[in-house]
């Protein structure tokens, strides 16, 4: 059986084949750009100020990042609110709170500071859940940058667009969209210098000299160690994999709380499991703001809470499939 080919139609076949090939090529290009964007956030030197809005919240943050050998050094200072500084060396975080004269030692588990907003993952892993496309190029802060679009393959995650500086691949702008294609979160550098313009001193603590006697609080770091909590999620949405699980104390609780962290390479979720007794909750409940969704699910004498940058349905699917590991 053959289909009739309209006159001149055969001339379309090579063009169609070329189109398919170009489409595949474009996807490869997008993956290459995404790889550069992920890599650059860790390997490049940069310093600047970015604005971040999520839901109704807006904030400004100064960030400096330098990589020396295999070590990443970073200094982060929120420009709103009381003074606070985070000095990061790889996953070790030193948080300086001068008002409380406290240095809080923490281990990075879920924290991802712009422009390193994507967890360390490969474009291939991301491409399993998102279609990768290249968008337009534009000029931002005097740099040329290329938009990369991450379009979710299902309704269980949000779309993202990243604008990568063309020379380094560094993400200078990022947007997250809901199902109605409305921007619900965005980052943008308002000042940026890169490469040799960034000094080694830019990533050192400025606040350390402000207080004579610091008190060190190491509890967060101790709690951030991975342990087997005995819990699992039987039915995580496709593409989400567990990256760590730990047991931590939360204010007002007498018993430790289990935390399981899942990511699809772009979005992440924390699943918290704790005794349902403060006082007991009997009904599910949820809140949403910007990209952040919080969903609680009573499960017998335990309470399961999911918080993450995902739609409500995703958090619900996670929470409702939490079970004791056999």
């Amino acid at each position: 059986m053959s289909f009739p080919v309209p006159r001149g139609g055969r001339r379309w076949i090579p063009a169609l084949a070329l189109g398919v090939a170009c489409g595949a090529h474009a996807a490869d290009d997008a993956a290459t750009w995404l790889q550069r964007a992920i890599q650059s956030a860790h390997s490049a030197s940069y310093s600047g100020i970015y604005a971040h809005s999520n839901g109704d919240r807006t904030s400004a943050v100064r960030i400096s990042h330098v990589t020396v050998g295999s070590e990443e050094h970073e200094r982060i200072e929120p420009l709103d609110g009381p003074p606070l500084e985070i000095v990061r060396r790889n996953d070790e975080m030193f948080c300086y709170f001068p008002d409380a004269k406290t240095i809080r030692l923490d281990r990075r588990v879920t924290a991802h500071f712009f422009p390193a907003i994507l967890p360390a993952s490969s474009p291939e892993a991301i491409a399993a859940s998102y279609d990768l496309k290249l968008g337009k190029t534009e000029s931002a802060l005097g740099f040329d940058c290329q938009w990369i679009r991450l379009e979710p393959r299902d309704g269980l995650r949000y779309a993202q667009s990243l604008c990568a500086e063309t020379r380094s691949g560094l993400v200078v702008r990022a947007k997250t969209f809901n199902a109605q294609n409305q921007v619900i979160e965005q980052y943008t550098f308002t000042e940026l210098k890169m490469g040799s313009q960034v000094a080694r001193n830019d990533v050192k603590s400025i606040f350390e000299a402000r207080v004579k006697r610091w008190v060190t609080d190491a509890q967060p770091r101790e709690e951030a160690k991975s342990v087997d909590t005995g819990w699992t999620v039987n039915d995580p949405p496709a593409g989400f994999r567990k990256v760590t699980e730990l047991r931590r104390s939360l204010p007002g609780r007498t018993a430790p709380v289990s935390q399981l962290v899942y990511t699809d390479g772009v979005a992440s979720m924390s699943v918290f499991i704790e005794p349902n007794n403060t006082p007991p909750r009997t009904q599910e409940a949820s809140t949403e703001d910007g990209t952040t969704t919080f969903f609680v699910h009573p499960q017998g004498d335990m309470l399961v809470s999911v918080l993450g940058e995902v739609p409500l349905a995703t958090a619900q699917q996670m929470a409702r499939s939490v079970a004791r590991r056999p």
């Binding site: 839901g55 109704d56 919240r57 807006t58 904030s59 982060i76 929120p78 709103d80 609110g81 009381p82 606070l84 985070i86 975080m93 948080c95 709170f97 008002d99 409380a100 004269k101 406290t102 809080r104 923490d106 990075r108 588990v109 879920t110 924290a111 500071f113 008190v215 609080d217 509890q219 931590r248 939360l250 204010p251 007002g252 709380v257 935390q259 992440s268 924390s270 918290f272 403060t278 006082p279 007991p280 909750r281 009997t282 009904q283 599910e284 409940a285 949820s286 809140t287 949403e288 703001d289 952040t292 919080f294 609680v296 809470s305 918080l307 993450g308």
Partner: protein
């Protein structure tokens, strides 16, 4: 006089009464402070508070004495932490108050209500049997990023050490 100041702010006074209220208001430090306090409260509730509040110490005491309309009364101003929190709160308020909506099965929650508050989410009176839906601690644990909630935890620990 506080009633007149309140009415003046609400535009409920006639021209003559408004003139009298303004004169009386400006003639007394206490009334000026009340005038300022009412504006700070109003701005904060609308999410329009200034970036950093230069609050005279008396204003903090006045704030403490104000009846709480939305949330159960908290002894917030008794510690250094509280003052730090207020600064954080003011800062957050400048950029927009967090607007979260609690839902239960798609319906607006009537038991686990979360109110707009300058520090982010603030649990409000629990009118039914369900506990309030308070995400603060989970936010800090999940994001590990600076937030008013993180200040609260750190300052709580500092206060506990000082005791």
């Amino acid at each position: 006089m506080t009633h007149e100041i309140s009415s003046l702010m609400d535009g409920e006074l006639g021209p003559q009464e408004a003139g009298q209220a303004l004169q009386a208001c400006c003639g007394s430090e206490e009334h000026k402070r009340t005038w300022y306090l009412y504006h700070v409260i109003g701005d904060s509730m609308r999410g329009q508070a200034p970036r950093r509040l230069a609050l005279p110490s008396g204003v903090l005491d006045s704030l403490k004495a104000q009846p709480t309309v939305l949330a159960p009364r908290r002894k917030l101003m008794d510690t250094t932490f509280a003052r730090v929190s207020l600064a954080a709160a003011a800062s957050v308020a400048t950029v927009g108050v967090v607007g979260w909506m609690g839902t239960q099965g798609g319906q607006v929650a009537d038991e686990g209500v979360v109110a707009r508050n300058a520090t982010g989410l603030q649990p409000v009176a629990n009118t039914r049997t369900q506990p309030v839906l308070d995400v603060q601690d989970y936010l800090v644990a999940h994001r590990q990023i600076p937030s008013p909630e993180l200040y609260r935890q750190v300052n709580n620990r500092a206060a506990a050490r000082a005791r």
